[in-house]
Symmetry: C2
Subunit: 350 residues, 2 copies
DNA sequence: GTGAAAGCGCTAACAA
DNA sequence: TTGTTAGCGCTTTCAC
């Protein structure tokens, strides 16, 4: 008997039954009201909302998820939350998702496949409705875990042959061609490229696009001037160091991302090299910082907002339009050159 | 009858019953095994784990949460994920939390109380076990929502008179005193302070500590040289602009955070002012970028790792040691000056 | 339109 | 040590 009494006693947070009791309706009606079912009469709906307010009731998402099978949680896995590109991406993604009634679960892998696997597993346990995999490479094997269980995913730049996987194609080519042409127009012929880690699809794509752009501009591609870095500040410093050791040196450097470029900026400064007078420099991403470096960085913009929106839309389509055979599964995000202060004509030969 | 058949059919993900069936034990034994109960014999435990592996079974956290009342999710609310200080903090917090079996839910408020309220609400709905509120101010009213429902929280720098609330005290004073003394030793007497927004406790504390440090160093505090900024890059530019308009100008600037200092660096450069020859500059936080600015930024380090650890420990104590009357509810994180290249002796008077 | 009732997958008494 | 069973709070048939 003490058992039954419990139900009535305080201490417990209000549940749907409490609301139903106050509103003098059934719990089904409360549920329907909260979920915006058109079947509920206005009279009852009003009573329900009032009871909800009065009790300060909050629905339990776990119970909801358990029965409905949908969590309204979206995962977003990024390569490295410490690279400002990603927080900016996460921010946009979160804004869009929250506005549409989704929660997000963020994970950063630091390019470690084991971490990725753990993330995927945790997201599976949390029953995410979809995952945006913004790691830009190295991910395929693990991702099967997700798609095999029917969880929609969206990848940047990599097509997975699975109906549950969508792809965001990044058109680096346009931006990189613009960058190389910009440099060529300024008079540069000796242009280096500090690439990202080859474990990333995106890094390889960017590098290939650079080669293509050089060719298109009729410029020679020097093998020694294409150096694999790590997309981090330190990598830029190291890459620049390697370049300096060479007998013949480039007059301009295109970097696979802004962090690398900022590292170069720092390294060049330490060596007494002036940017852009002695060396022209172009980044990629256009993170917020790019505008605040010394000099402000000329860079190839990759819009986080566009990317986030594409990722969300891809997922939403998969989730809410599941049956549709004509589902859009490919999205395109473009890039374009932003000219600031880190590029100029090459120094006159000595 | 069709109903019953369903249970056996494929399509469904394996649940605890499936595991029990394969292992030929009861579901209770499966549950106990997964949760590491010492009651399970090794013989059965082995069978269970094998079945789990065989079926590729993943427990449903929502079901778990629903019945146990604990979600093993920790919320972390930051002021602005776009300020690199916070991703670095989140990264540490996540690492610690995941290692201890917790998931994290991240939210960024952009200092908007309405957003904070929405975050708190969503976290309540997701039944988080605790929340680290790393917004550094403006938060009290909303936070009651959390504590009233028995959710432990930990605040930076602000004591809430609630048994469920813990506090992390940040000892800015030490670092700021070191900074001012460092400047004074170099010969500076005219030192400005670019403060953070007064809506933040931390900003006010930092400002007060600056005043105290100036006094302690026997230096005059000029009202006009204390300017409220916004802790963002742009704010630093603006604050520097205001300083430049003054008839008498400082020879050194201490900033309430690194972002502000980096903004100043940029603005000074645009005006042809050299740092540190013409102007000395000190930041606060020591974000990863600080080492890579031109010149490298002298700054007051606030360890994200320490802060994250303190936040996690505070929460864990509240959650897992709930009953304990001798719970530690105050934690201290220290700061200290890191001298790099943005400080030097003041220019000789003209 | 509304309500009654059957679970969603799991944990935690309690019984054996 | 192991199994049985009653819910956790909600959505969703299915009746009415």
């Amino acid at each position: 008997m003490a058992r039954k009494a419990k139900r009535k006693t305080a201490g417990k947070l209000p549940d749907i039954r409490a609301v139903a009791a106050v509103a003098k309706v059934s719990i089904a009606t409360v549920s329907r009201t909260m979920n915006g079912s058109p079947l509920v009469s206005e009279r009852l709906s009003k009573r329900v909302w009032q009871a909800i307010k009065q009790l300060n009731y909050l629905p339990n998402t776990h119970a909801r998820t358990l029965v409905s099978g949908r969590s309204r949680i979206l995962g977003i896995i990024v390569e490295n939350i410490t690279n400002p590109f990603f927080p900016e991406l996460i921010q946009s993604f979160e804004e869009i998702a929250v506005a549409r009634g989704y929660e997000i679960l963020v994970s950063s892998t630091n390019s470690d496949p084991a971490v990725l696997a753990a993330c995927a597993r945790r997201m599976l346990e949390r029953k995410v409705d979809g995952v945006a995999v913004m790691t830009f490479g190295e991910e395929e094997p693990v991702l099967d875990q997700l798609t095999h269980r029917g969880v929609p995913i969206v990848l940047a730049e990599f097509k997975l042959d699975d109906p549950k996987a969508s792809t965001i194609l990044l058109d680096y080519s346009t931006g990189i061609h613009q960058a190389v042409r910009h440099l060529a127009n300024l008079g540069h012929r000796a242009i280096a490229f500090l690439a990202g880690p080859h474990s990333l699809h995106s890094a390889i794509t960017r590098e290939n696009d650079f080669r293509a752009a050089m060719q298109a501009a009729g410029l020679p591609v020097q093998k020694k001037w294409i150096i694999e870095c790590d997309h981090m500040l330190k990598g830029g410093v190291a890459g620049f160091g390697q370049l300096r050791k060479l007998a013949t040196r480039p007059t301009a450097i295109v970097c696979s991302n802004d962090m690398t470029a900022i590292g170069v900026l720092r390294a060049a400064y330490m060596e007494g090299l002036r940017v852009p007078q002695d060396l022209s420099l172009i980044g990629l991403d256009d993170i917020d910082f790019a505008e605040f470096t010394l000099p402000p960085l000329t860079t190839i913009r990759l819009s986080r907002v566009e990317l986030a929106r594409a990722a969300f839309n891809a997922l939403r389509a998969q989730i809410e339009d599941a049956g549709n055979p004509k589902l859009q599964r490919e999205f395109l995000v473009s890039t374009s050159l932003v000219v600031r202060g880190s590029t100029a004509a090459p120094p006159a030969p000595a």
